[in-house]
């Protein structure tokens, strides 16, 4: 059994005992524990079940690379699935649950998959898609959906807060181990702004566990001194519990800081996402130990040798009385020595190398440990925990020579540098045969805007694993980074190091090297996704030569750990199966984030009220308190209509339309874009922007204009007002204000940079209120408007007025066919004017109306709407707007495109009005069918509906649509598909349904 040792525990504070629960059972741990170490100390070795076969699993690692020990943390509004027990710091009251098991962790029904595993080989999912077809939907999918999956999705809204933080520095150092600290100090002492981040809660990495002296002092003392020196530098920012998540172009990097995960009672955001711009990035991310692929290497109790050593040294956890070590290198001997030093037994060290190890091996033998050279593990005895190791000759096929009873097995297949951050933005790797690892190729780094590499690796992340080489590399890289950032580096001293030398490892990709099938089928590569040696070999046999294809076929490395333990072993097995060298097989792509980060951190503050900006007009609150039924229009909210108590939306729209036509309607039109165009060349510029002739407009007059893009398609429309000789005011659609302003500036800055024109977007300076209906003039007069008669203030003109004591600018324009004024007033007085109009309009039954009534009013008059009649493929000619396209102008934006053969084509569908024969309302977007089918067997079409409404004025459905040769086919009846298999008959008519002569607005 696993238990707590009486003494020791480098990271423990035995003075602070915590209680916590796992699957409802209570346990005790200490401050400094991880959840994994605390569970192990309580003999809770079983922490989860695997993804595919539901096999029992305990922790195999002690840090971020852990694939097995995933738990659900918290409950309700703080619940979070898939958290690694090895990186979860223990706190008092922690609640955790295991995942992927039913009905219980100890007894799982899904483990039946395990015994059926030969029916669930690599590529199983893909094969189920193929044949027989019905099996997927009715047989495979229901079973797989039930049994696959890890943690459950949270059901409650996350109650925590999150934030972003923008930071800038000369040198960003990721990783606070001995290399990161050393490199950061070199950069900091040169005066650079340095940010140093470490993903765990302590500085120094694993050096203190591995031992040795630096400059004559113990590793821990040296680390403490480095940290003190760094803390004394004001130009160095240090963060623990902050992971370098990703490296991106141009020196951009993300840091993921866990502020309160270890102390949930602390006030403030839970996670902070650091968004960092750095001149140089040093990744001192260390290395990860590789497992060995032998049968049963996933049985709880089999751990990485370094992890087992961490549990003993850092957390005073005994993984069991008897620990067998199996290795192909010298470093694992340190685990044997640490276990022995803790008073436990090491029955044997199984060293796959025929000649065994060096100094450390001698030390182990001197300590009385039996070293078995040239041997391997044939298979692990035990189900839910290790009971023994059956050993064999590494050179053989797995014939068991002896079974050694034990409680835990420490395995080591060598080390792989953590190259993820180096690789995220294009840093290349090279294969080092001597050390059997992919390491960064310093000659091919990710390149910045200056053509120089902006990412450097330091320490074990560069490849060297020995302490002396690590320190020398860190000193040099720290100097290189700070020099690259424009500083002068001081000559760095490399301190003398005293630590046992290591002899060379020998690569072992399968144990034993000739393992028979039934052993290979139990030799795990990817623990989380249940991928075994036999699966990768099957993929190779089935023709998967690319490592990327094999990854997807077998799901190797596709779990939440992204193959941190499995990738190198997997591709080595693949290379053997393909009989190709490892570098030729290559690695899969490394992508951010390094380990999963929370959605909360990505979203930051953007949640609740500030999830998205919501734009409000000066009249927004009034509209809200008067029953506005809102709809989004871009980032604005506009009232769709104003339903009264018990009134449907439809009835409200009908009432608003009728009231406006009969007496007086009121619309908040503040969202319309308003752009000033000014300068000696403004007229010339306006003539290019609009299809109409704008330069001939007289000051004080208004003109409706169309704007096209350079491809000739209609992009915006609105009323242009000439304020004075030099100045135009362009009204745009609500959604168009920003992009039309940008469109103007682009042409001015890139094509017509020598034209004397300035523009300014003054949309938000003004509230704009439309007063619409037969009583509109009476209302203006009542508010003190002078000179507003038909003669003094004719249609399509502007006038400065004083209404209710407020200076305003009124435009007599109409989008409804009624007598109508749009009144602009500085935004700060918008509400005051609106309320004055509201009060004065009571005697006329003034009715506020929304966007839907606006649409109906314009459709009754046959006015087009950008976004309804246009969709980015429609030109003004399609809409019968030839009158608004100047024939006199030499050019305008879009003119040339409109002359192309497929634009100037009589077969383009053209705008007409549509009236259903039965008076009903046509469905939105309905298609008019034509005779016959097209090449795809679909019915031919000859038109489509662009706008369709119930007209309360006419008491029937009205619509506009684009129809083949439409204007030449007046009176013809078309069949429109109703979407339910039937057809609705509609007659082609003039698109102006109401007041064709304009009598209502010409008063």
């Amino acid at each position: 059994m696993s238990t707590r040792l009486a003494t020791g525990g480098r990271l423990l504070n035995r003075g602070a005992a915590y209680s916590f629960s796992f699957n409802g059972a209570s346990f005790r741990g200490y401050e400094g524990d991880t959840l994994a170490s605390a569970l192990l100390a309580n003999d809770q070795l079983l922490m989860g079940r695997s993804f595919k076969y539901h096999r029992p699993r305990g922790p195999v690692a002690s840090g971020a690379e852990e694939p097995n020990a995933l738990v659900g943390l918290g409950e309700g509004a703080t619940f979070e699935p898939n958290q690694r027990a090895t990186t979860t710091e223990l706190f008092d009251g922690l609640k955790a649950r295991s995942q992927n098991h039913w009905p219980s962790l100890d007894f799982d029904v899904g483990v039946v998959n395990n015994s059926l595993s030969r029916f669930l080989p690599a590529g199983f999912y893909y094969k189920t898609f193929i044949a027989p077809r019905p099996f997927w939907k009715h047989l495979y999918e229901p079973i797989i959906r039930h049994s696959a999956g890890l943690g459950a999705a949270p059901k409650d809204l996350d109650e925590d807060r999150y934030e972003h933080f923008y930071a800038f520095c000369d040198v960003l150092v990721i990783g606070g181990g001995i290399a990161g600290l050393t490199a950061a100090l070199a950069a900091g002492e040169a005066g650079a702004r340095v940010i140093l981040m470490e993903q765990t809660s302590h500085w120094g990495g694993r050096t203190p566990v591995d031992g040795g002296t630096i400059g004559g002092v113990a590793a821990q003392a040296h680390i403490d001194a480095l940290v003190s020196k760094l803390e004394a530098l004001p130009n160095v920012t240090m963060r623990l519990r902050c992971m370098g998540s990703g490296v991106y172009d141009h020196g951009y990097a993300l840091g993921y800081e866990r502020l309160t995960d270890h102390a949930p009672r602390n006030i403030g955001p839970r996670h902070r996402l650091w968004r960092i711009r750095a001149a140089r990035i040093v990744t001192a991310t260390g290395a990860i130990e590789r497992p060995l692929a032998f049968a049963g290497n996933d049985v709880p109790g089999v751990m990485l040798a370094s992890a087992l050593r961490d549990y003993v040294v850092n957390y005073a956890v005994s993984p069991g009385d008897r620990v067998v070590v199996v290795t192909n290198n010298d470093d694992a001997y340190r685990t044997a020595l640490a276990v022995k030093a803790a008073g436990l037994t090491v029955p044997a060290i199984i060293d796959a190398r025929p000649n065994g190890g060096g100094v450390l091996a001698a030390e182990a033998e001197a300590a009385g440990i039996s070293v078995r050279k040239g041997m391997g593990i044939a298979k692990v005895e035990g189900g839910k925990r290790v009971t023994g190791a059956a050993i064999c000759a590494q050179a053989g096929e797995g014939a068991v020579l002896e079974t050694i009873p034990c409680d835990a097995i420490a395995m080591s297949g060598g080390w792989s540098p953590v190259v993820h951050l180096w690789s995220h933005c294009g840093g290349k790797l090279l294969w080092d045969d001597a050390t059997a690892m992919f390491r960064p190729d310093p000659a091919r780094p990710p390149l910045g805007a200056d053509g120089q590499g902006y990412v450097l690796t330091a320490g074990s992340a560069s490849g060297p694993m020995g302490l002396a080489e690590v320190l020398a590399d860190a000193v040099e890289v720290g100097a290189q980074a700070v020099t690259g950032a424009g500083f002068t580096a001081a000559a760095g001293d490399v301190l003398p190091v005293d630590i046992a030398a290591e002899s060379a490892l020998e690569p072992v990709w399968m144990m034993p090297q000739g393992a028979e099938y039934k052993l290979r089928a139990k030799a795990w590569l990817d623990f989380q996704n249940d991928v075994k040696v036999s699966d990768v070999q099957l993929a190779a046999r089935e023709g998967y030569e690319s490592v990327e294809h094999t990854k997807r076929y077998t799901t190797l490395g596709m779990a939440t750990d992204q193959g941190k333990l499995s990738n190198i072993n997997g591709l080595a097995v693949l290379s053997q199966a393909l009989n190709a060298p490892i570098p030729q097989v290559g690695t899969t792509t490394f992508r951010p984030p390094y380990t999963p980060i929370s959605f909360g951190a990505i979203a930051g503050a953007a949640r609740g009220d500030v999830f998205q900006p919501l734009r409000r007009t000066p009249i927004h609150e009034w509209l809200d308190s008067h029953g506005a039924d809102w709809e989004p229009v871009g980032q604005w909210r506009r009232p769709f209509c104003f339903p009264k108590a018990g009134e449907s939306r439809h009835a409200a729209v009908d009432r608003e339309v009728k009231a406006t036509r009969a007496s007086l309607g009121l619309l908040d039109a503040s969202t319309l874009g308003k752009i000033l165009v000014k300068g000696p060349d403004a007229g010339r510029f306006m003539d290019m922007l609009y299809t109409n002739m704008m330069s001939t407009l007289k000051p004080g007059r208004c003109r409706y204009g169309l704007m096209c893009n350079e491809n000739g398609f209609l992009m915006d429309d609105g009323v242009v007002v000439r304020l004075d000789e030099d100045t135009f005011l362009c009204h745009t659609t609500t959604g168009g204000a920003e992009h039309i302003h940008a469109h103007m500036e682009e042409w001015l800055q890139t094509e017509w940079w020598d034209w004397k024109v300035y523009t300014a977007n003054v949309t938000e300076q003004y509230a704009q209120i439309a007063v619409v209906g037969p009583k509109a003039r009476k209302l203006l007069e009542k508010l003190g408007g002078q000179g507003v008669s038909g003669e003094d203030f004719p249609f399509m003109t502007m006038k400065d007025l004083t209404l209710g004591g407020i200076a305003v600018r009124a435009f007599r324009i109409s989008f409804s066919g009624e007598l109508s004024y749009e009144i602009a007033v500085p935004a700060s007085k918008g509400l005051a004017l609106w309320e004055a109009i509201w009060d004065a309009g009571q005697e006329f039954g003034i009715t506020p109306y929304g966007t839907e009534a606006l649409h109906v009013l314009r459709a009754e008059k046959g006015f087009i709407m950008i976004g309804d009649e246009t969709d980015g493929t429609v030109i003004p000619q399609d809409l019968g707007l030839h009158w608004a396209i100047s024939k006199k102008k030499e050019d305008y934006i879009g003119k040339r495109a409109q002359a192309r053969s497929f634009m100037d084509n009589p077969n383009r569908w053209s705008l007409v009005g549509l009236e259903t024969v039965d008076g009903s309302v046509l469905p939105e977007g309905a298609l008019a069918v034509a005779e016959g089918d097209n090449a795809n067997g679909q019915r031919n079409t000859q038109g489509r509906v662009t706008s369709t409404y119930h007209s309360p004025t006419l008491g029937r459905g009205i619509a506009m649509g684009l129809v083949l040769h439409g204007p030449d086919r007046m009176g013809e009846v078309l069949d429109f598909a109703d979407g339910k298999g039937g057809f609705i008959k509609a007659k082609i008519v003039d698109q102006v349904f109401f007041d064709k002569d304009g009598d209502k607005q010409n008063v």
């Binding site: 972003h164 923008y166 602390n266 938000e764 300076q765 004083t802 935004a827 700060s828």
Partner: protein
């Protein structure tokens, strides 16, 4: 002019956290576009504000007035509310015959003051805007046009620990809420 009440978008809303957010204004604001290096242009700017034309990413101050650099050919003039009409007349007069654009945008913007002793106000802005706002990198008189959360904004440091921030009026509530959220209590150690 009328005597109808002018209102700022949030009517002086205020939030106290690790820093204080206060909606300020009304203030007169003029967008002025022209050739910034032109002597006549500079003289006109000085005539209405008393300020010099600021350098790139800077603001200049005189009395209670300020001039903000916005683009290579655009300034924002800040004046007492109510003095804009007169200033526009003066500009038109001084810049007669000189190509320029001057527009009253006093009501198009919302203004906030963000203040705190020490570095707290810097810490708040660093949560929202991609700007290097560390001491030594950004000080009094410095200006950035940037974004705050998801909307466009500009801010200046008027004195150590005090920022003024300007955004479009329609998003005043959004920006206030964001600033207030970023001012929330935290046990995280300050970065600056």
């Amino acid at each position: 002019m009328s005597d109808a009440k002018s209102v700022t978008p949030l009517q002086g809303a205020k939030f106290d956290g690790i820093a204080t957010v206060q909606e300020i204004g009304p203030r007169g604001m003029i967008t002025l576009r022209g050739t910034l290096s032109d002597a006549t242009f500079a003289a006109a700017v000085e005539a209405v504000t008393g300020c010099t034309v600021p350098a790139q990413r800077k603001a200049s101050f005189s009395g209670g007035n300020a001039v903000l650099w916005m683009t290579p050919d655009e300034l924002m003039l800040m004046l007492p509310a109510g003095s804009v009409a007169g200033a526009l007349e003066t500009l038109a007069e001084k810049l007669a015959g000189v190509h320029h654009l001057a527009a009253d945008v006093s009501d198009a913007r919302a203004l906030f003051r963000l203040s705190a002793p020490g570095v707290a106000a810097r810490e708040v802005l660093a949560r929202l805007a991609p700007v290097d706002i560390a001491p030594g990198q950004f000080g009094p008189g410095d200006l950035r046009r940037t974004r705050v959360g998801q909307v466009a904004a500009a801010f200046i440091m008027v004195e150590e620990g005090v920022f003024e921030l300007v955004c479009f009026r329609s998003v005043a509530r959004y920006v206030f809420d964001l600033l207030a959220d970023a001012c929330g209590e935290t046990t995280a150690q300050p970065v600056f």
